[in-house]
Amino acid sequence: MRPFIIAILAASAALVVGAQDQQPSPAPPRQPGEIIVTINGAPGLPPKYAVPDFIALTNDPDTVAAARTIGQVLWDDLNFEREFYLIPRDTYKSIPPATSLDQVPLDQWKQLGADGLVIGTVRRTPAGVTVQVRLLDVATGRSAMAKEYSGTLKNPRLYAHTASDEIHQQQRALRGVARTKLAFTSDRDGERMKGPVADRGISNIYISDYDGANQIRVTATRSLDITPAWSPDAKTIAYTSYRTGFQDIIVQYLHELRAYSKPANGTSEKQNYLPAWSPNGEKLAFTTNRDGNPEIYVVNRDGSALRRLTNHPEVDVTPTWSPTGNQIAWTSNRTGSPQIWVMNADGSEPRKITSESWCDRPTWSPAPFNEIAYASRTGPGFDIKVFDFENRGTRTITDGIGTNESPALSPNGRHVAFTSTRTGKEQIFVIDRDGKNLRQITKAGMNRYPNWSQ
């Protein structure tokens, strides 16, 4: 067997798994002469992958548990993008677990129908843990990918997410989303603030992994922190805060204590809300009442170069940037009902793209899709629709159950996070852009305003 090419990500520092969840550095550039093995399925069918539990090379309970978790999560991650057919794990029982990466019963995996097999090991080390991952072409036994990661054992899921993103990139030239995060608003802690008539629920910003794991609170207000927006570098979240008694935009540095800025520089007379980052992270578009009416403005992230984009006596609210940053879509009711509009990023050439009952919260899809997702009234409630600039048509991707609002696209444009009342209180769900694979992300309390990190 040919020697495996092991891409070793730089030491344990590269994969610090913990409160800050630093993402591993990207893999080094390919060495000349490296052979890329692409695993194919039967003609016209996606390749079939199997992902058994990883092998625990040390026998302590943490390592054993991590080995199981990584296998399961990696199966889920690879299944998420629908590029592969993932063979269900409960059919693996007949195949004896491998004890090392070099002794894999490939014949039996072939019998099960697998084209690709992802196997791996977890070994405890004095510094933490070493995880090896291999993708094998079952037909030939060749290694398509071999990686080694090291880090702590705090969050084994991150090794699976990292391997999944690398497999999607290498095998399908696809940017996976396994290491991306969601942000949303939740009142789950049950904290109350004084209200004029009755006490009111406090909402804070939470973040989670893309699959809903590791939900943690990142703000601590005694009022409302809502409408989070990840900056493209994922280091900060901009959001609407009521902590001063009026709405203003706070840009909070997630990894630094008490580090924040207020680029829109709000006062009780100049309130600001619903921030949206430009694709390069240098500007924020937002809604403000400083002219006595909701209008769209843009400002540099350092608070300079404030500029007004809309000038109309009706509502202008909730901007979103096109992937190039050249255009902005937003909601306006200037024709009598809330509809989606598009303008150039300097405010010129406003034009309406929807003519429905009530449309709101446009979210521009990243390339390669030329689409805007939005909420549209389809009955008593709303559904998520997608407007396609190519054919100027729309499609509805939710099913009319409950009300469905506030769409947020994944960075590869394939998935939409949104708010739905389909199970009762508002919760965050994720669905694919074709309306398949609905998944519930939150269950505790009421959750709103999802946003997907880059």
Partner: protein, 190 residues
Amino acid sequence: MMFRRHAVVLVLIALLAAGACAKKKPPVARPTAPPPSGPVAGTRPPTPPEPVQEPQPVPAEPIGADTLSTADIDALNRNSPFQPVFYGLDQDTIDAAGQQALNGNAELMKKYPTWVVTIEGHSDERGTAEYNLALGERRALAARNYLVSLGIPADRLRTVSYGKEFPFEPGHDEGSWSKNRRAHFVVTSK
């Protein structure tokens, strides 16, 4: 002299009737310096106040004036003397009932000239969350603009929009929705 005084009173009444006094201080009892603790030799009793010039009494209030001006702010807001303004679906225009409520609120603002009020804009749950933030803002600003037109200084009137974050009634029918589409007045400082 008497004639001139009567003329002044008449002119004042005419001005008041025309609403032209809107920007003047309200003609109501104002706190005055406490009376001296005992009679001071050689001073005459204070001049009796001018004849009552208030053209109309303020609207009936749920709580007596003294109670209001000393009540703790939270308790005050829980039994608010201010009337909320209600709106139609996706509307921010103030109808006749809303104007009546605001006229009463304006009188209260004039009566308690130190009060600063925050007007909260709210929507019902049926619209989308983001648009409702703007709609609530439009409602609060509409109520504020109306009060400013009645002569209430803008710096005593703050606004904030909560969209559909804080419904007053929990139900999912028009009975609740109609109460949740509102501008609600909260005394912020006294």
